[in-house]
Assembly symmetry: C2
Homo-oligomer: 342 residues x 2
DNA sequence: CTGAAAGCGCTTACAG
DNA sequence: CTGAAAGCGCTTACAG
């Protein structure tokens, strides 16, 4: 039976077909659990996501799941909601479920030793979006580059006072993004007030707070770089509540290019690294560790995607300089312009 | 060993502790797969979701997963992207994984016989959001009631020409929502033009199309009921592109009350049935079928939540009548008013 | 009350 | 080449 299912060449094709038909008639269902037990390997992959309320991670999850499904793997999903305690539970559960590998976007505050511990379990691990050291397979984004790109764009629009909303302390990705911003400001010899790097939660609520803070500042920024699109959506919302218009009263740039960024009002300028591509890379990296005889002790595979800037209306009204290429709001429906590294 | 883990009373507490400690030292990991094989029952639940790009289903998924996790179950997640073929694959895979139960929001166009087939597998099934007959456990929403409530609200604001965007043919939930709208219009003796029930995709793109259709109509509606918030977001976006304002130029009402509905510009009036509550109910319904000696042949448990209308700015500007209770846009940050059944 | 043995449904190494 | 047997890690019914 097993041989038939494995399409073993020692079974003639017609016999195999007969067996399969009989199996179907009898209502036979292959038991993957038993196979995993005996064969000492499983075909389920654990996926640990920190925040499903952020659509970017959902897009990433969908992309990862699709590639894994195509490769014949089943996805065991868990959501930690940024709780390290939940993450610990979830990882234990996945280990007990005997997952063949793990893809994880670690919760904020995860202990640096966790990747090493998971390695000691003998379970291959791929980190997505949030790096934790050089010796773990990681798929992420070049955040410093992206935020430098976004800062350049705002400066090119004539902005000199630019804020950064979402500077969570002790969080690596926030530091990278802030560094991209600060180094570019420095390069252009633009002074940066301390209060311009605003520490708020990385949610729409955080964005709302950031706007209120900005409009209370003595030396008020004319543009704001947001940690991600979730924060930017809160910024847009609060601007609207104050009767102000993004792009005109305050230029706004987000990060992640979630699907909704195209449908905000006004549409949101944002950095895109491609959730599809990142998801596919993460899956493939893990799958490459799962093939027979894979080098698990080899050097870690790390890839950091270079984001592009998708320019939409939230950052389009130039300050000081009037640029002839600025189009009137709402003329071309699906237009998007892409800024690339020079 | 097994007895210790089960906290069997025949093992003294101190001995149990010693065993547990030794197990930890040796790096013992409980193998759920083996337990499931031997015990002929598993602790994983399959969850089949039709559309993770709709945040409502993500909120539902998160709610379901939390309750299942608390009950000691692990969630196997799959995404069908509204493809019946993918759904078939996914269900076979879950059956092979020996899931203890299934929670499913079936893809559009799913064969009516599917619930009976799954029952024949001996796997308890709970349907969410999309009913398929009377003899399946189902957690859903009273869509006709909700859309009647929304229609009443628009009529109370002075609207007499109201459109319905998202009338997908042959899709039960769309028909329910349309019926709630049509019956209320009839009750108020308001005529409804055929072209006002607009058949578009149930996405932001569909919403954009609907707006263009509405502004091309000879007898133009002053309000639009959207199939869901995704459609409504497209409507808001297109209105903005046309330089028009939701609530002023066209009243807009959505359905689902996704988190983003509070942050659209302007904030979106929408129907809420509570994804948390629905998710918890779905989980609990399934769990009740999983307890030892549960009546699997008993009557199907069906529950349809009564939605409330969350009134926000997108439908607030009254037409014809000027109502003193209308507040000025953007005055109270988190305000929301709730309309209930009378 | 307790400990040893049978067996869940597979895969694989091995005897014939 | 082929078929029967061992064994993955558990649970549970049963013998002592």
């Amino acid at each position: 039976m097993s041989l038939v299912l494995q399409e073993n060449p020692r079974i003639p094709a017609d016999t195999a077909e007969k067996v399969r038909q009989a199996a179907r008639q009898l209502g036979y269902v292959y038991n993957r659990g038993a196979a995993a037990l005996r064969g000492r390997r499983s075909a389920t992959i654990g996926m640990v996501i920190n925040d499903l309320t952020n659509p970017f991670f959902v897009e990433l999850l969908v992309a990862i799941e699709r590639v894994l499904a195509e490769a014949g793997y089943t996805t065991l999903m868990a959501h930690t909601a940024e709780s390290v305690a939940t993450q610990t539970c979830v990882l234990r559960s996945m280990r007990e479920q005997n997952v063949a590998g793990l893809i994880m976007s670690p919760a904020l505050g995860t202990d640096d030793a966790l990747p090493a511990e998971i390695r000691s379990w003998g379970i291959p691990l791929v980190l997505v979006m949030r790096p934790m050291g050089d010796d773990v397979d990681t798929i992420g984004v070049d955040n410093a580059f992206g935020f430098a790109l976004a800062t350049e764009h705002l400066i090119a629009q004539g902005h000199t006072r630019i804020a950064f909303a979402g500077n969570r302390k002790g969080y690596a990705v926030a530091s990278q993004r802030r560094e991209g911003y600060l180094s570019t400001m420095k390069q252009h010899e633009l002074p940066v007030a301390d209060e311009w790097t605003i520490d708020v939660e990385l949610t729409p609520q955080g964005g709302q707070k950031a706007v209120r803070a900005i409009f209370d500042m003595a030396l008020r920024p004319t543009a704001v770089l947001c940690y991600n699109d979730q924060v930017a959506i809160g910024v847009l919302h609060e601007l609207d509540r104050m009767g102000k218009r993004a792009g005109k009263d305050l230029a706004v740039v987000g990060c992640d290019n979630i699907v909704a960024a195209e449908h905000t009002n006004p549409p949101l300028t944002t950095l895109s690294a491609g959730s599809d591509k990142l998801g596919a890379l993460a899956s493939e990296t893990l799958l490459s560790r799962l093939v027979e005889g894979a080098v698990t002790d080899g050097p870690a595979k790390q890839f950091f995607a270079v984001p592009e800037l998708i320019i939409r209306e939230s950052s389009e009204h130039a300050i000081e300089t009037e640029d002839a290429t600025q189009t009137v709001r709402g003329k071309q429906p699906g237009r998007k312009r892409v800024a690339r590294a020079s």
